[in-house]
Amino acid sequence: MIPRYQRILFWCLAIASLLMALFLIHGCEQTREKLTRHRDQTPLAAPVETPSQTVRLALANDADGSITLVERQIALPAEPTARARALLARLIAEYSYKDSAHPLESGPAIDDVFLLDLPLPSSIAAKDKAAAPESDIAPDAADTPSAYSAAPHMPGGQLAVINLRGTFADHHPSSIESETLTIQSIVGTLFANFPRIEQVRFLVDGQPRDTLNGHAGLARTYQAVNTATAQGTAQ
């Protein structure tokens, strides 16, 4: 025979548990409604379907020091700077594959790409000239067209400024061949896909740097030319 006070206590505890369960369920419902309401207020960009297009990548090969133009089908944004950045990101990603002929560490490499119309504004050109290496033999050496020219070869010519990530430069294989091929690969890819780009300059973490990783120079202006030594096949 169960005493009466124990039965009363049992039912009291059962009712308390039921009330606590109802309170908990109610709290969860309120929280879920709150989160849902907040998420609904977040603006969402309308999905845009970007069709894949054919681009040409200048891929390097360490075995013979060659650059080969290959075609790829990829989707790229329409805005030119974002397009150049995405294209170069894809190029560097190709080198992180296991069977790459020019192996590089995986990870983000391109921070930004800036496309500047040539000739540069006088203020930028003056800063560029001031940053030029000093000449011991001829002080006017910084005026040499091949090194620091800001005049386009054709109307609408552009200067591409590639801002590399410091981690990419620091972890890049340190050798003349590897560093030179990386630069030639970037320059050749820009030349093959952006006909307006005439000159290419490099920054690392937003700052000028003498070399990529101890060898190939980054403190110069590269002319956008066809660096490919062979023609590849589409994939």
């Binding site: 360490d62 075995a63 013979d64 020091g65 290496p133 000449s135 011991d136 033999i137 001829a138 006017d140 050496a141 910084a142 040499t144 091949s146 090194a147 294989p173 340190s174 050798s175 003349i176 061949e177 590897s178 030179t180 630069i183 003498d210 070399t211 990783n213 101890g214 060898h215 190939a216 120079g217 110069r220 590269y222």
Partner: protein, 273 residues
């Protein structure tokens, strides 16, 4: 009496000298009056343009070696605690010995690992003052295989006009190598051929590497990578010795190919060497 004669002789000599000066001056004035167009130093201002420097004579038996990196700049890491600056220095020592045995004089930028190494500009200055027959910048890497021989990315300079050969044209520091690019590429081809004959895989190319563009001599950068055929690393002594002998053979051929420096109007003509 003797004193009087001496004084008379001195006075007579002074009078004769003065008369000669007056006579020469009158002759010049007369000639100038007859030919007013004849140039005289007083009529033509002294050209403010600096005179062309004497053409430097290349020493065909002098080789400039630049073991890259040094000090805090250790270069690449080729393995466990193997630094590029040590490998280039070791190879430079071997190559210098081989070259000296072949009758070359060798100038190097460093014989040890200095705490304050030369900058690329200082290395180029040392090379340009040496007037070497060949300037070789030494590098080493763990990437790739064989021996890589690089020349400057500069375009060859256009040949100067005969009329402008006497004019002093400043040499831009950043493109000083342009006048030597053709020779540098010929030197690279000779090096590659010699390496191939020695059964060493070789690769030639162009690289944006300092101080190649600043060198006023036939200049190449030699980068030693592991030998894929024998699996020898870049710091292997036998592998380095093999390369050193091949390069020495090539430089002997290069020395034989070099013609004596042509006589220049600005430089004194010396006896044939």
């Amino acid at each position: 009496m003797t004193l009087t004669r001496t004084c008379a002789a001195v006075l007579l000599a002074a009078f004769a000298g003065a008369a000669a000066v007056v006579l020469v001056t009158q002759t010049q004035i007369h000639a100038q009056a007859q030919n007013p167009a004849a140039p005289t130093p007083a009529q033509i201002p002294t050209p403010s343009r600096p005179q062309p420097p004497a053409a430097p004579t290349t020493n065909r038996s002098l080789i400039f070696l630049d073991p890259a990196h040094g000090g805090a700049d250790s270069g690449a890491t080729l393995g466990d605690h193997i630094l590029e600056k040590d490998v280039t220095l070791a190879f430079a020592t071997r190559l210098r010995s081989a070259l000296t045995s072949a009758g070359f004089t060798v100038v190097t930028t460093r014989d040890a690992d200095p705490s304050d190494p030369l900058t690329p500009d200082q290395r180029a200055e040392t090379a340009n003052r040496s007037h070497a027959a060949a300037c070789i910048v030494l590098h080493a890497t763990a990437v790739g295989s064989g021996v890589h021989v690089y020349t400057s990315t500069l375009e060859p300079a256009l040949p100067e006009d005969a009329d402008s050969s006497s004019a002093y044209v400043p040499v831009p520091w950043e493109t000083a190598q342009a006048s030597f690019v053709d020779q540098s590429r010929s030197l690279a081809d000779i090096l590659k051929t010699a390496l191939a004959k020695a059964s060493l895989p070789a690769l030639t190319g162009q690289a944006p590497l300092r101080p190649l563009d600043n060198l006023m001599c036939p200049a190449v950068a030699v980068e030693i990578a592991p030998n894929a055929g024998t699996a020898a690393p870049a710091n292997d002594s036998d592998y380095q010795q093999h390369i050193a002998f091949a390069l020495t053979t090539a430089l002997q051929k290069w020395r034989d190919q070099l013609a004596p420096a042509p006589a220049s109007p600005a430089s004194p003509v010396g006896p044939p060497q």
